[in-house]
Structures are given as C-alpha cells and as structure tokens.
Symmetry: C2
Subunit: 355 residues, 2 copies
C-alpha cells in the first residue's frame, strides 16, 4: 500500500523532470491520481510511464500554449498545443465554467490534446460551483461498431456530475464499451477468461479469450450484441467521438492516435491530436439551486432505498463505489501491482527521483 | 397499408375534435406520425387512443399556455401547462434553437408536459439550422436499477441529431433500457419469448416471459446485467431523468405519471407532469459549419465502409434503418396491426371522423 502523498510527490517530480511548469505538474498529478483514488487503476500511475514514453517520442509538449481558436458566449474550441490532456482538459473545463457563470451553460470542444485521465475528474470540477459537469473524450480505436470487425472507436467515456445538498454528489463515469480495456487487462494478468459479450475475435465471433485484442479482435460496444442493444453503445461512442473531435478539429474514429508510443499515429491525420468535450450547466440557470439540490437529495435517497434483489447488498447511486474506494485509499493507501511498482522504480531511476 | 396522408388527416381531425387549436393539431399529428414513418410503431398512431383517454381523464390540457418560468441567455425552464408533449416539446425546442442562434447553444428543461412521441423528431428539428439537436424525456417507471427489483425509471430515451453535408444526417435515438417496451409488446402479440437480458421477474430473476411486466417484473437497463454494464444503462437513464425532471420541476423516478389513463398518477407528486430536456448547439459556434459537415461526411463514409462481419449486410450509421423505413412508408404506406385498426375505427366513431 502506498500513501497517496508518496505517490503524489513522486508523480509530480516525474512531471517536473519532464519539464512541466510547477503548476502544470501539480495539476497533472492531481488528475492522474484521482484515478487511483477512485479505483480506476488502469488510468492512474500505472499509465505514468506511458505518458513519459509519449513525451520521449515527441508526441507531448510539456509547455503547451492553450489557445481559444473559436468562441461564442456559451462555447469555445480550444487547441491544446499537444499538451498533456491531464493539464489541457482542466483548463478547458475552467473555460466552460466561466461561460456558464456568464450565460448559464458553457461547452468546450478540445483538439490537439492527449489522454486526460478519468473523465469523472473533469465533470466533478463543476460540482463546487453548483453546476452540472460533463466530460467526454475520444480514445485509441479498440471498439468495433455493431456488425463490423474493424476497430473504429475508443472506449469513449461519458461522465456527468450532478450536485446535491446533503447527499454525496451523483457522479456517473462510464465507458461506452461493454467493458473498459482496463478490466480486460486485469483478467489478462490473472490469466482468467473474459465473459462472453466483452470482446470478439478478428472475424467478429464471440470469445472468452481475454488476449483476443492482440489477435486482431475488438472490444464490443455497451449492449454487447444487436439483440441487447450494442447499436446503442455504438451510437453513444460515436456521439462522444463527434462532439470531441469532429466538432473541435481533432482526429476521430480510426485516426485517433494510439496511447502507446510504440504504435505511430496514422500518417494521414484528419485533425490534430485527440479530442475532448467538456460542459458546465449552472443549476440556477434552470431552477433555484437550493430547490434543485433538495430534490436531488430526495432522488438519491429514493433510489438508494429501492428494494434490493435477493443476494445483493444495496442499490447503488452512480459514484458510490468510487467514493467508498477513495475514502478507503486515502486512509489505508493505494495498492499497486508488482509490474506497476517495477515500472515506477525504473521511471524513478531514469529521472533520479526516489520512488 | 395506409397512405401517410390518410393517417395524417385522420389524426389531425381527432386532435381537432379534442379541441386542439388548428396549428397545434397539425404539429401534434406531424410529431406523432413521425414515429410511424420511422418504424417506431409503438409510439405513433397506435398511441392516439391513449392520448385521447388521458385527455378524457382530465390529464391533458388541449389549450395549454406554455410559459418560460426561468431563463438565462443559454437556458430556459418551460412549464407546459399539462399540454400534449407532442406540442410542448417542439415549442420548447424552438426556444432552444433561438437561444443557440443568440449565444451558441440553447438548453431547455420542460416540466408539466406529457409524452412527446419519439425523441428523434425533436432532436432532428435542429438539423436544418446547422445545429446539433438533443432530446430526452423521462417516462413512466418500468426499468429497475441494477441490483433492484423496483421499477424506478422509464425507458428514458436520448436522441442526438448531427448535421452533415451530402451524407444523410446522423440521428441516434435510443432508449436507455436494453429493449424498449414496444419491442416487448410485439413479442407479446406474437406469443413469442423474449431474449434473456431484456426483463426480470418480480424477484429480479432472469426470464424469457414477455408478459413478465404484468406479473410485477421490470425492464432491464441497457447492458442487461452488472457484468455487461447494466449500471451504465441505469446511470444514463438516471441522467435523463434528472435533466428532464429534477432540473425542470417535473415528476421524477417512481413519481412519473403513467401514460395509461387507467392508472392514476401518484398522489404525492414531487413536481408537475413529466419532464423533457431539449438542446441545440450551433455547429459554427465551434467551427465553420462547412468544415464540420465535410468531416461528418467523411466520418459517415468511413464508418459505413468499415469491414462487415460475415453474415451481416452492412455497417449502419445511426438513423440509417429509420430513414429507409421512412422512404418505403412514404411510398408504399404505413402498415397497421389489426388491434390498432380497430382502435382507430372506434376513435373515428367516437368523434364522427371517417377512418
């Protein structure tokens, strides 16, 4: 178990060593480690060396100059100048929040960025302002559309965070694939089988082989197959792709650059970098904030008290499991798998930072 | 097969006979029949007698005075005065579009409304203005949250319509349940079994009984079970419920009044009527419209040309099947099931309108 503070200082030192300005290094660390706190282990420090390798490959600019290339009172398009998504996305979200302050809502589409950690972090930025936060991003293509064998879409998450009064906030953060790649990676490490409905073979057949992506297979959209609504998951992933990238001028669909540095980005890009879409809606642009938040408390209490199926413990509210994990990990520390520990040790050596 | 024109005139006459002002009767008819054209047979004329019965029960005001009860430059909250959702929603969408013209985007939350037909109609209203359209609504509770046996949410659809240049528009319109209730009704009529993953029994067990809802069962969220992401479908349905109703001051969750007139609305309402959420985003609030639309054409062509799985005909773009059905039905007419024909004949007799 690693204390949050220890991982924070280490990660921040790595970003500083890469040349990030101090305030950016701190912000990137906060965003990255939010994944570890919330239990989304695939998106946290486990990815730190991935970001470093992208930087070494010249694909990340550690001193980006974020620019607004287009705007209206309620919208902006931001160019992230190849910066870390971990830094660009929070700054873009700030713009959305400022616009919401002024005209009720603010919506920012971002191009020329890189992976931004967990979507939930960015959506939650709105909560303290009594705003509903939205965050989406596209990502390297791993998911096949319904009826297809080609990997055309990322696991393209949608996060929506909604403020409350006394209850904890409603925080939904969902990959639009049946299962995120991180879950597959866990099965791979444990040499376990994947459930039918998560992946398909290169020919589009059902499989339980958790390693199938390496054989040309693909992740399946939320819904898994046509009968169970995979066309809906495919549509949702597409909406995320379009709002994040076609709207901003980033790469979309199969053109999204891969996160892993050993795969080169397509040499016929249709845009710049990857894209995000961020939004903030002032609650009191619709209804007095206190009234809304009281009803949210009622909504949450009502759903929490819904009848539980035999064999299950409780009906959960989106955000419940992640909040519990955060509380536990802040107290007891963050567990790291041995390969991640090794990875961080090597990073530490490379930059002369103690892990 | 019934010519569109015939069903249009008949439906319009019924709305006129109920006392709707001529322009409202025409609008309601157009919205309702869009469902029949697009092949969403459960939401079209098959529901006309349902709307009539709600009106007879005093739950629909045919001369509503729509009011904006709260607004900012990019938002509005609308009270639908118990009007037909078929009329209130398009008018609320007009407000969203006007606001988008002025400040880039417009977002309208609607309370005190009734069912609004298919969400896709309202989202598509934005297309001709080079805007991205959004439409959501909550609905009578039929869906159980993950781990619960209680029906807490409607099939709460999300529709997003995105303009293009030469390609047909991208139109996603999806219920956030694994399968919409209309699909179950078809199986019920044919005395067929439902696939595992669409419904559960009153105790929360898997079942193939298409009649299970009558026995206290519930529809399942998109994803079907926890392993396949039903918590994501549950979260999406919840977001729709909150944006449509907690934000506007309509009834939410288990308080949403039932569409069928023989069931009374809860006697402890938490708001007024049912709620919708409508949005319009000017494409050129982010990027020159032509540039965006050219890339949308490229997006669509790329996905349409993705490799097809053996045994399937084509990779579809959201909106493809509905557009094909519309073209066919405008030419060859709209098929009606015998019980629907009877229903319309009875309606015709009641109002002295020839069917």
């Amino acid at each position: 178990m690693y204390p949050y503070r220890q991982l924070f200082d280490f990660t921040q030192d790595i970003f500083l060593s890469m040349g990030c300005p101090p305030e950016d290094a701190k912000l990137a660390t906060e965003v990255l480690l939010e994944a570890d706190l919330r239990g989304v282990d695939s998106h946290g420090v486990a990815r730190l060396s991935g970001y470093v390798r992208l930087w070494e490959a010249g694909r990340i600019n550690v001193k980006p100059k974020l620019t607004i290339v287009h705007e209206t009172p309620s919208t902006a398009t931001v160019d992230g100048d190849s910066g870390l998504g971990l830094v660009i996305a929070p700054k873009a979200m700030d713009i959305a929040i400022q616009k919401a302050h002024q005209v009720g809502t603010g919506w920012v589409s971002v191009r020329n960025s890189n992976h931004f950690g967990i979507a939930g972090y960015h959506a939650m930025e709105a909560l303290a302002k009594d705003m509903i936060g939205w965050a989406m991003t596209n990502a390297s293509p791993l998911v096949a559309p319904t009826y297809s064998t080609d990997r055309m879409l990322g696991t393209n998450p949608i996060a929506v965070a909604i403020p409350t009064k006394n209850q904890p906030a409603f925080v939904a953060d969902l990959a639009t694939a049946a299962a995120a790649n991180g879950k597959l990676e866990i099965l791979q490490r444990k040499e376990k089988k994947a459930p039918i409905g998560w992946i398909q073979t290169a020919e589009g057949q059902r499989t339980t082989n958790a390693h199938e992506l390496k054989e040309g297979g693909a992740l399946l959209p939320l819904g898994s197959d046509r009968t169970h609504g995979s066309h809906k998951g495919y549509a949702l992933a597409s909406i995320v792709d379009i709002l994040s990238a076609v709207l901003s001028g980033a790469n979309y669909g199969p053109w999204v650059p891969p996160f892993v540095s050993f795969l080169s980005p397509p040499d016929d890009p249709v845009g710049k970098g990857i894209g995000h879409f961020l939004g903030a809606m002032r609650v009191d642009a619709f209804r007095p904030a206190d009234e809304f938040k009281e009803h949210m408390d009622n909504w949450i209490t009502t759903f929490r008290n819904a009848k539980v199926k035999k064999g299950e413990k409780a009906v959960l509210i989106p955000g419940d499991p992640e909040r519990e994990t955060t509380q536990k990990r802040l107290k007891k520390g963050i567990p790291l798998l041995p390969p991640v520990e090794k990875d961080l040790e090597m990073l530490g050596k490379k930059f002369g930072v103690t892990f």
